[in-house]
Symmetry: none
Subunit: 219 residues, 4 copies
């Protein structure tokens, strides 16, 4: 497994730094992140970060790659064993869910990255993303050829799943961690607030998977 292998290869200090950086970047974004805070959270001196990894940008790239690289690996492994485009598609989505569940920081990181138009995405990350996208392309093409999928724009198909999932994960995390925001809603309309809470509690990932397949599969 990508993640674990990586962690074993790296020094304790490195791991602590990356972990802390991941959390902070996910929480407040690249420009919002303070190297000071990352160092403090990692329990190391600020200069140590520079010694081991380099400047803020390099640190950010490292964080992103840790997550996107793992995602690509997982999807690859998952899809490989499946038979037929429909099954492959399902496995593809499930691998993404798995990754997102294991890396709670992936959702916010990706949202911000998309929002900023990948202005600073390093090549490594672009490669990871392309690996992921190429796999979907193959699956959808095979499915169209075999007539199990409705004809659809590949990019849109991808986003039909990724979009709701990432949004949902963020909303879920916000609802759980950020009491301020939930309280705001509670104060505005208690009933809607209750209903929203209930819906967030129900596993959204599966629902999204169900609806997406319903949209894309024939019949």
């Amino acid at each position: 497994m990508y993640t674990r292998a990586l962690k074993d290869k790296r020094s304790e200090t490195m791991n602590r730094i990356i972990e802390a950086a991941t959390a902070v970047f996910a929480d407040v974004g690249y420009s919002g992140a303070r190297v000071d805070e990352i160092a403090k959270k990692a329990g190391v001196n600020k200069a140590t970060i520079y010694y081991h990894i380099g400047d803020k940008e390099a640190l950010y790239a490292q964080v992103l790659h840790d997550v996107t690289g793992d995602a690509a690996d997982r999807i690859e492994e998952n899809v490989e064993g499946a038979k037929g485009p429909a099954e492959k598609l399902k496995r593809y989505f499930e691998a993404i869910v798995e990754t997102v569940d294991e890396h709670p920081s992936l959702a916010p990181l990706m949202m911000r990255e998309v929002a900023s138009g990948g202005q600073n995405v390093p090549v490594v990350i672009a490669q990871d993303l392309m690996r992921i996208y190429a796999m979907l392309l193959q699956i959808l093409e095979a499915g169209a050829r075999e007539g199990v999928f409705i004809p659809a724009n590949t990019l849109v198909a991808h986003l039909m799943f990724l979009g709701p999932l990432i949004f949902y994960k963020n909303v879920e995390a916000t609802w759980k961690n950020n009491q301020t925001f939930a309280d705001l809603f509670a104060r505005l309309d208690e009933e809607i607030y209750q209903g929203m809470g209930a819906e967030i509690a129900a596993s959204g990932s599966e629902e999204i998977l169900r609806l997406t397949l319903r949209a894309l599969l024939k019949g």
Copy 2:
């Protein structure tokens, strides 16, 4: 129309400031934005911003409200005239598409806001969001009662449409404006790059609408 009325009521200077701020916040996020740059882009002295609006946070709130308030207004107007839940749902989604098309900054702004967990969302914005969400709630409930929609988690239903749309709009903008990023893809795999370009060119919004309705409507 909300937007136009607002613009007429406000002074030239105010409008220029808000407009510039919207662009900058959308581009680089709250922490990435520099008041200096906003002022320069608006063609006013930095102090003028503080004179008219207040600090950076107030400016950001103003920018967000301008967009979310307009969205809520549009949806309301659009949905009002429609008959039956299915038609209302379609109009609801169309109003969102309309808003997103008219405010290119909405997509990145919303993504970042969702990513940051609405940590600093002022009450005004929360109210706007709730208005929007409450309308969908009513539509879906009516639809479920009348048996035209499949049973579905409301929040997920909302995100099924909003997620892909916002992602798509961001990707589209990135592809068009950020040559660096597109070039990166071109260099990695020319074929995929070409295909992606073609798919982005095709109107994604309609495709998303079609697929979302396919997922949610019965039959």
Copy 3:
């Protein structure tokens, strides 16, 4: 009377500005004062101050002169009627007490001015101060000649009275207006706090006058 005559000669607006400025300068000093706050307190637009009086420095000079000019006038009037150096000295001190009582801002203004070494004292103020000092000089010289005073350094004699008085007035005002500070003392030592409060309540001015005369008069 200096003060009243001046007020009658000046426009309502001017009086309101000077009054507000006096309070603010006394409260927070020259550099601590904000023209904005003075304008707000005076109930006029900031630009009005510039129109009527001029820049911050001119405003400050005006404020100082209003108070020192009045002090000089009062002392002159008071001392004139008295017979003999001892009586004159008493009247001199009493006039100062009177002025300080009527202008609560005099004490802090003077302290700050002394602390800053009169770095920005305009000529008008210097003239006022000199008038006051020259009167004391004459009285003390006459008293020394007639043998009713002990030989003493004139400046020191002046400060023997002025110093305690100004300090006392400031301490008194602080005790009465600044609950925070008094509370601090109360928390540190309740007994000392009580005693201090009682002593401040007793009229300090008379006590100072008594002790000063005891120090300066023969016998």
Copy 4:
């Protein structure tokens, strides 16, 4: 000795910063002081001040405490060895003179602090001041019990000495350092100017001590 021990314990940089800050605050007061100037005077980068001490307010507190803490220590040491209230009182005053002489900035700092009503006095300073005041209280009470002092308001007694001394020190410093002000007087009245200069040159502290004791001691 407090001051020296402190200086040894602190880093060179810290000492240079505090020293520079003391001078600047004394010269132009808290609001008049510019952190930039303090940094320049200390020969360090502005950020170094924030690194070592904190914000402007913390710096000010440090400066005040350095001086008031030393004063309290000196008085304590001085008074301890003395016998009888009269001797103790003399020693008490002498210790103050000593402190004031060693810290030329004490006089202006204290004047401004008194003028501003201790609005921002931190607890440490309040403790220092209380220590000083409590000692005088004990001495005066003992003296009153033993019949060597005339009955007097303690606070006033304190101010009878402190007031003239602090005023005198400020006037003296102004006269020596601020040629502008002296020149102003010289131009207004050459004779008074000469006399004043002569009186300032004579040691005022001793004169003040003599007169104060004359005022407070019986007989």
